[in-house]
């Protein structure tokens, strides 16, 4: 299957091939893969591709097995600065 033409992160337009290549070359963790490729860093905050990225990662083991592979940060929805400011 043509991995170059499968977009995984729609917001940042990162392909399956780019993500797999980053993992292969650098043996990286979920977080490092995200930082290297920008997959999951777009406006939707990873709502669409987070589960896909997690499927591509080597599963965490031992004490870490139950952690979320990708950290979730507030705000958990896209909000404007004005809205964020008003809510403080």
């Amino acid at each position: 299957m043509k991995e170059t033409s499968i977009i995984v992160c729609r917001c940042e337009e990162v392909t399956l091939e780019q993500i797999r290549e980053a993992i292969r070359q650098h043996g990286c963790s979920a977080r490092e893969t995200k930082l290297r490729t920008r997959a999951g860093m777009g406006i939707c905050g990873g709502r669409t591709c987070r589960p896909l990225l997690e499927r591509l990662m080597v599963p965490l083991e031992g004490d870490h097995a139950s952690e979320l592979p990708l950290k979730i940060q507030p705000p958990v929805r896209p909000v404007s600065f004005a809205q964020w400011g008003r809510s403080l």
Binding site: M1, K2, E3, S5, I6, I7, V8, R10, L16, R20, R47, T48, P51, L52, R55, L56, A65, S66, E67, L68, K71, I72, Q73, P74, P75, V76, R77, V79, Q83, W84, R86, S87, L88
Partner: protein, 403 residues
Amino acid sequence: MNAIYDLIVVGAGPAGLAAAGSAAQAGLKVLLLDEFMKLGGRLLGQLHQEPGGAWWNGIREAELLVLGAQEAGADIATGVSVTGLERTDNNGWTLWTTQGCYRTPFVLLATGAAESANPLPGWTLPGVMSIGAAQVMTNVQRVRVGNRGVVIGMSVLAMAIMSELRLAGIELAAIVLPPGNALSGKDSNPEAVLDSLLRFANLAPNAMLKYGAKFLQNSMLRNLALNLYPKQGIRMLDVPLQLRRCAIEIVGRDAVEGVLVADITPRGEPIAGSERVVEADFVCIAGGLYPLVELAAVAGCPFRYVPELGGHVPVHGENMQTLLPGLYVAGNITGVESAKVAIAQGRVAGLSIAFSAAAEKAPGEAEIKDAMEQVKLTRHEALIQFHPDIARSRAKLYQIEIV
């Protein structure tokens, strides 16, 4: 900063609505928030016939739950997203929302589940949507999603929604499997898919699937069935269920024009030379569901990875309390199950919170126990089983974590 509520419930699906109702009934001052403009969550899209013949109409069920919560005195606001949740030192929680900030001693997260996709080339074209989006457009917004569609992915959820699309008079050209790649895993393997379909054979309106399912429990017969499975599929509700075909690419210039499909072996490998284009003007991708846990994560909840429940779930007890004081969870955030289970869990959460808060009309322990029994009973009788091992994995979760 608003600090007048004893309990803030995030999410007005079946779990949140039931919880808000029972907590308010017990005398707590409750605020229920949801980011959608309508109350009811995923319930709103549901329409199916129960084995006894009665119809489960999610819109009506939602209305009844809303009425219950309102009559009990809960305040409800729609169109408000909760964007952050933080524990404050003086035994309480701060909630950030798109409409201001709240402080409260008790929070219930009932944020439900989200869909995951199985990407393939062309899935960003206009006209491609998740199967759940097609459900919401059809049953909630009453918008025709298109004239002729292809569904990619075969699961309990896909079948349930497919039958709703048919009820709305929408033509479906075929249901095919997703292409095999690093992301689709078992979803692209006919053997594994047939196995999972057999679990809900009692739902199948197609006699062959319904009565055939029993025989197919036998693995030899199952292999035979897979090998003999007609390439053009078995028709169900007039839709060919093509277990031996997969989508390769969604094609179209500015929008969906069709899907390139290929025949596949019983193990899922495409057969060279069998490719053809099925014309369609919309495509539904049916991936899976996973618990929507964002707020539990930012609150600092410990998690457990439970594949039977759909992925990572916040660690919680049978009374729906998490390991963080004052923070509760109910519904699909605790594991993907049917709406009736979510309602039953919501009741448990509402009652346990009222008990903890020593509410004016707080329930006794016996009442909470009864409500917990009701969850198990409802789970046992649920029409749609999202996974065969839900009951066992729940028992394990509750035994290990709550002493």
